[in-house]
Symmetry: C2
Subunit: 287 residues, 2 copies
């Protein structure tokens, strides 16, 4: 793999603050910048190296179906244009990536609008972690005088970034530890979460802690809405999905003999805990 | 209130690392040291000041019934000995406190032995926060080759103190964020927790996050055992109990306009999520 490809993969691999949609767009932008800056002169070589980058992007973040799905769409469309001069092939790759980025952005925007439409004036909303989609949704309901309960989302504390955003939008926000979720769910009108992947049966892969939030919500009859653009849907089942584990040093545990820190980033919320799945195609109440 | 009494109350008020049993013993020791070091010469005045300390101890940590219960036992026994010389009254107060400390210690030790008896070889145990009782239980099962999953327990990270203890005992331990609880419960054989208070209907007041652990445990049919010496039992219902809130600065959120950090320390786990209550009187499977 060439240097640029390695940098693209490494950046997505190390990222801890962006959700699946943003990293998927980062992957498409990576394909575009690879195509635009590749230094060789043979079409075959260009396609082979592009293929290596595609393969690496498909597996770099296995808990996020969006990346693999969008890269596969790129690959599918690109293979029809395999012939031609290097300039033609290069231009095609760039155009396909650009169109997919636009489609992705449009799908997110439409999903956010649909989700915002489900929120009523003065509601108390609760979320977990940082989802670019939920950020957009909350930005769209500024005039509805909602209140938002935000969790820290250890170990990365992405919840703090969301709280910072809500502060700039003058949305009244409560910031709590992940352990307090059970105390605040009964005060919420709705739970709104993003997703890294929707599994074949509708189960939701999202930041660890989402499952506990959804369990508490069911206990108190609080509806759980998941924002999940169609490019996040996967054919994979819960037994096949890889839940990424990150560096245990993120927990900042001092070294202790016989004690192992673990840092699994994602958990699975079964479909029966979800009230509705919201995508650019509308609101589904059954999967 | 005199200086010593104020120091005793302040110490218990500010403590973030000891559980209800240890703080209750600290309260009894406080009564003893007050009695031993009081400088006046009139019995009436001694009793009045002791009464002020008792009243302050009863309310200093409202989520921990153990402190009020043991202080009330002290008061009940002391009132029978209200007459006599100052030296006699002083000696009685000291003796009552000493006997109650011993009773409390004995009850905890018996509860720990009973709870340890419920644990089988090679089991995976999971707990939340730091309970002196659970620490004793785990110390008693060192020979059973158990594995323990310990949560950080934000914001105080008392789980780290438990992990340090388990390390010294060479008990294999996994240390996780509170948000990962749902990922690890299915791997556990038993959940073992302490309690700050047992409410009138058997519900458990314990460190925030316990409720989520118990919800996940029911979902996966993992039994939940609560260690609760009888001095932790309360006649208060869940609508009457005060869940203490601590300094929100413990969350270390930078100042943000419109964002309020909240730091409620305890939550309530309903009785239907508890498999058995273990005390010095034995194992109860229904409350």
């Amino acid at each position: 793999m060439d240097n640029l490809s390695a940098r693209i993969i490494s950046k997505i691999d190390r990222d801890r603050t962006h959700g699946a949609s943003q990293l998927a767009i980062m992957g498409l932008e990576g394909l575009k910048s690879f195509a635009g800056s590749w230094q060789g002169d043979r079409v075959k070589e260009f396609c082979e190296e592009l293929q290596l980058l595609i393969e690496a992007l498909r597996i770099v973040r296995p808990s996020m179906a969006a990346i693999a799905n969008l890269v596969e769409r790129f690959q599918y469309q690109f293979e029809f244009l395999y012939s031609g001069t290097l300039d033609e092939v290069r231009a095609s790759a760039i155009e396909i990536a650009e169109v997919l980025v636009q489609d992705t952005t449009d799908a997110s925007a439409q999903t956010a609008r649909t989700m915002a439409g489900l929120i009523n004036d003065h509601e108390v909303l609760m979320t977990h972690s940082l989802s670019s989609l939920i950020k957009s949704v909350l930005g769209l309901v500024v005039d509805k005088s909602v209140h938002v309960v935000v969790t820290e989302s250890r170990p990365g504390n992405e919840g703090l970034l969301l709280a910072e955003y809500l502060s700039t939008k003058a949305i009244e926000t409560i910031y709590i530890t992940d352990a307090q979720v059970g105390l605040w769910v009964p005060k919420a009108d709705k739970i709104v979460i993003g997703a890294d992947t929707i599994l074949a049966d509708g189960a939701v892969v999202n930041k660890a802690g989402t499952y506990l939030l959804a369990l508490a919500a069911r206990e108190h009859d609080i509806p759980v809405y998941v924002g999940c653009e169609s490019y996040k849907w996967s054919k994979v089942s819960k037994d096949q999905v890889a839940l990424e584990e990150m560096d245990p040093d993120e927990l900042q545990m001092p070294p202790l003999d016989g004690v192992l820190a673990r840092n699994i980033y994602f958990d699975i919320t079964p479909a029966e805990l979800i009230t509705a799945w919201v995508s650019e195609q509308g609101v589904e109440r059954e999967w």
